[in-house]
């Protein structure tokens, strides 16, 4: 199995926020969503979602509440807050600026 690329540092928070922007999800759901949408290219060490989620909760960018899943299990669902949506915008624009800058450097070379 070829080694998958590590996630760029600092992008995990952005990915989580973006994922939650579509719909509220539990932790497992977030991991699954990231994996699927990236065609299995981006696999985070799944557990590292949880420290990241604590960070986002603390910042007030996401909210959490316990709900029943479709299979009637108890799970903690995370929802994006308005502050989180704003933060996502900030991070996205910063990220795009960086990617554009990297792209320009690579093209020139």
């Amino acid at each position: 199995m070829p080694k998958k690329p590590d996630l760029m540092p600092g992008t995990l928070d952005m990915l989580i926020l973006k994922t939650l922007a579509r719909t509220p999800l539990h932790g497992y759901g977030i991991a699954l969503s990231i994996k699927r949408l990236s065609d299995d290219v981006l696999t985070v060490e799944e557990g590292s979602l949880y420290p990241a989620l604590q960070r986002l909760l603390l910042q007030g960018w996401v909210k959490a509440e316990w709900k029943k899943t479709e299979t009637n299990r108890r799970a903690r669902y995370y929802t994006l807050t308005p502050a989180g949506r704003k933060q996502l915008g900030v991070e996205l624009s910063q990220f795009e600026q960086m990617i554009a800058a990297i792209g320009r450097v690579l093209q020139d070379a």
Binding site: H26, G27, Y28, A31, E45, E46, G47, S48, Y50, P51, Q54, R55, L57, L58, Q59, G60, W66, R73, R74, A75, R76
Partner: protein
């Protein structure tokens, strides 16, 4: 705004930490179960699916730790480390007690000595811009730090261009009239600008006025704060009160500040003015004053010294009779006041520093040994997911904890040591070191404690850290520990022992030499038997004891009364104590010897017939004084061996006649030679 929100959220979580843990564990477990189910659905065996799910999830313990760190306060981890370090120390009481006591000893000694250094060397002079103050002395053939005469002082004051002001002072023992009888009290007589030169203003009343001494006003006097409190109850109506000093009425015009002290004055209570018309002040030969001065801006001490030496040379030409061989010496006031004590304190501080170094090396060695035995523990913690940073933090905490306890005990012991050391200083010496009054743990001392604690803490944190390279952590699991790194660090321990031994040898040699010096000092041959001698200073007011006859009667009465006390074998009287270095010096000429301007200078004591017997001193040649000597036509004297050698050489001094110059009587004396 957001940070305040975060703070309150953290605070909220702090109180429902258990809830937080349970919820986190539940959702993590849920996540793993979901993964497991999915993998099983893909056809994995349940066992394989569980393992795969765990692998995919990552180190759950470490992730929980990370979550905690995210939502916890920074000090929570530190507190945890701290409690763990405490448990570690409790589990090894032998190690803990040894290390802490060693450190306390080293730190305590350093802090105690530092307090003295701080008091004596770092802030000895409680005056504004103390480094611009200098002391002035007259240098004579006998030595460089002798008194100045009043006429010389006036010439120095008027002719110099280097001082903003130059003033003079003289210690002054006098009889203070009190309701319960006369008391011997200490004071200082100063020229009128003395306090303005120091930069000190009275807290109550006024300073001396310029020209006050010359004016025909009543005598005025300033009192020290201590005397104001003790003798006058701290009442403001002390101003204008009259005190009788040496039979002369003096009006109190001011009270000096509480923290004012002037080391050369000792515990002076009264500060009066020098009397320009006094019997000594009128004569250039009579040296009774010390000078202090404030340098002009931009003038250095050596430059002032140079100019004053030039002025002294000019005066020497102008007044060859009185000033021959006399120069001027200018030195910083700090040097005058603490010059003698500085080397002692620096030696003590170095000694204490070396002791601290030994203590630190000892404890570092103990830590190394312990790190060796903790290798497995560290390896296991590393394997269980403790990050290297976290392990290092643990060591730092343990080191700081050791130093913290050591410093605490050390400071307590330093406090006791300071009291003890102060008590070891004789009272009259302490009076001349008033800067030691403020001795104690001040900000300087605490900063010093913090500095050495941090250094020691860094050392102790570093020692086991170096020992625990990452490779070691892995090697530690195999319990072997006999890899090459182990040998290197064992050697490091051996090097530490070498350093320690070297320092200990230096310290011991130094202590031995000091001890030997002290022994020699105590056994210097002084020419008399200093044991079983008691000293009593007696003063008598001029009123009532002004005539020779009255003074002789008083002396006789004192000697008779003391001599009749039980246990007193003999009593003698002297104008100045032996080996004290004090005493008036005078010029003399040898009768019948041609004088080509040679300058013979000696110090003189006036003694009673019984003086040498009481001291237990032996005459080398000649005879002792007798009671009938007073009736002789000329006076007689006894000289010491040094004077006989210096001024009479191979001649036999006995029976030679000399005359003191500069005195009108020119009395002749016969000489005998004693030790």
């Amino acid at each position: 705004m957001n940070s305040i929100n975060i703070f309150f959220k953290k605070l909220g979580l702090l109180f429902r930490r258990e809830n937080f843990n349970n919820e986190l564990a539940e959702e993590m477990a849920f996540h793993q179960e979901q993964t497991e189910q999915e993998l099983q659905a893909e056809g994995m065996t349940p066992d394989a699916a569980r393992h795969a799910a765990r692998r995919q999830f990552g180190n759950a313990i470490r992730l929980k730790e990370q979550s905690h760190e995210t939502i916890g306060f920074w000090f929570e981890g530190t507190l945890q480390d701290f409690l763990f370090a405490l448990r570690q120390l409790r589990k090894n009481p032998g190690f803990a007690v040894t290390a802490v006591l060693t450190l306390a000893l080293g730190i305590g000694a350093s802090v105690a000595i530092f307090a003295f250094v701080d008091a004596a060397l770092l802030r000895p002079l409680p005056y504004p811009n103390p480094n611009r103050l200098v002391g002035l002395f007259s240098s004579i053939p006998l030595g460089p730090k002798y008194n100045i005469s009043y006429p010389d002082y006036l010439d120095w004051k008027n002719q110099n261009h280097v001082f903003r002001s130059l003033e003079a002072y003289d210690t002054w023992d006098f009889m203070l009239k009190t309701p319960t009888g006369a008391q011997l009290a200490q004071g200082v007589q100063v020229s009128d600008g003395f306090f303005r030169t120091l930069g000190i203003a009275p807290v109550l009343g006024r300073d001396f006025l310029s020209g006050e001494a010359e004016a025909a006003t009543p005598h005025t006097v300033l009192v020290s704060y201590a005397a104001w409190q003790k003798r006058f109850g701290g009442r403001p109506d002390v101003l204008g009160q009259t005190v009788t000093l040496d039979g002369v009425a003096n009006t109190i015009i001011g009270v000096l500040p509480k923290d004012f002290h002037f080391a050369p004055a000792g515990g002076a209570n009264f500060w009066g003015l020098l009397d320009p018309s006094g019997p000594c002040e009128k004569r250039r030969i009579c040296h009774n004053l010390f000078g202090i001065a404030r340098l002009k801006n931009g003038i250095s001490v050596p430059a002032a010294d140079f100019e004053m030496k030039e002025i002294a040379a000019r005066l020497e030409k102008q007044y060859p009779d009185t000033n021959r061989g006399q120069g001027a010496v200018v030195m910083s006031l700090t040097e005058v006041i603490v010059g003698d004590i500085r080397p002692i304190l620096l030696v003590l501080l170095s000694g204490a520093g070396l002791l601290l170094l030994i203590a630190c090396v000892n404890v570092a060695n103990l830590l190394l040994t312990r790190a060796e035995s903790r290798k497995r523990e560290i390896a296991v913690r590393g394997a269980l997911g403790a990050s290297r940073g976290r392990l290092i933090r643990q060591f730092v905490t343990e080191g700081l904890l050791l130093v913290g306890i050591g410093s605490g005990l050390g400071v307590a012991w330093a406090y006791g040591a300071m009291r003890l050391l102060l008590r070891l200083v004789p009272a009259d010496m302490l009076a001349r070191m008033p800067y030691l009054q403020g001795l104690g743990l001040n900000l300087h001392g605490l900063a010093f404690v913090c500095a050495i604690s941090l250094l020691a803490g860094a050392l102790f944190a570093l020692t086991p850290m170096l020992r625990m390279s990452l490779r070691d952590i892995r090697a530690g699991l195999t319990e072997g520990g006999r890899n090459s790194a182990g040998t290197v660090w064992r050697h490091f321990g051996a090097h530490l022992v070498v350093v320690e031994l070297a320092v200990a040898v230096v310290l011991l040699a130094g202590a031995g030499l000091l001890g030997k010096s002290l022994y020699r000092l105590l056994h210097v041959e002084v020419g008399f038997q200093p044991d079983h001698l008691a000293v009593l200073s007696i003063g008598a007011p001029d009123s009532g004891y002004s005539g020779d006859a009255q003074q002789i009667a008083l002396e006789q009465e004192i000697m008779d009364r003391i001599g009749s006390l039980p246990g007193v074998k003999s009593v003698g009287i002297t104008s100045y104590l032996p080996v004290s270095g004090y005493g008036p010096f005078m010029d003399f000429v040898v009768k019948g010897r041609p004088n080509h301007g040679e300058h013979y200078e000696v110090t003189r004591r006036q003694i009673s017939v019984s003086y040498f017997t009481t001291l237990g001193a032996q005459l080398l040649r000649g005879r002792n004084f007798t009671e009938s000597d007073d009736a002789l036509k000329h006076q007689v004297a006894i000289i010491n061996q040094a004077m006989a050698r210096k001024y009479f050489g191979d001649e036999d001094p006995i029976g030679k006649q000399i005359a003191y110059s500069g005195s009108s009587s020119q009395s002749l004396r016969r000489w005998k030679s004693s030790e």
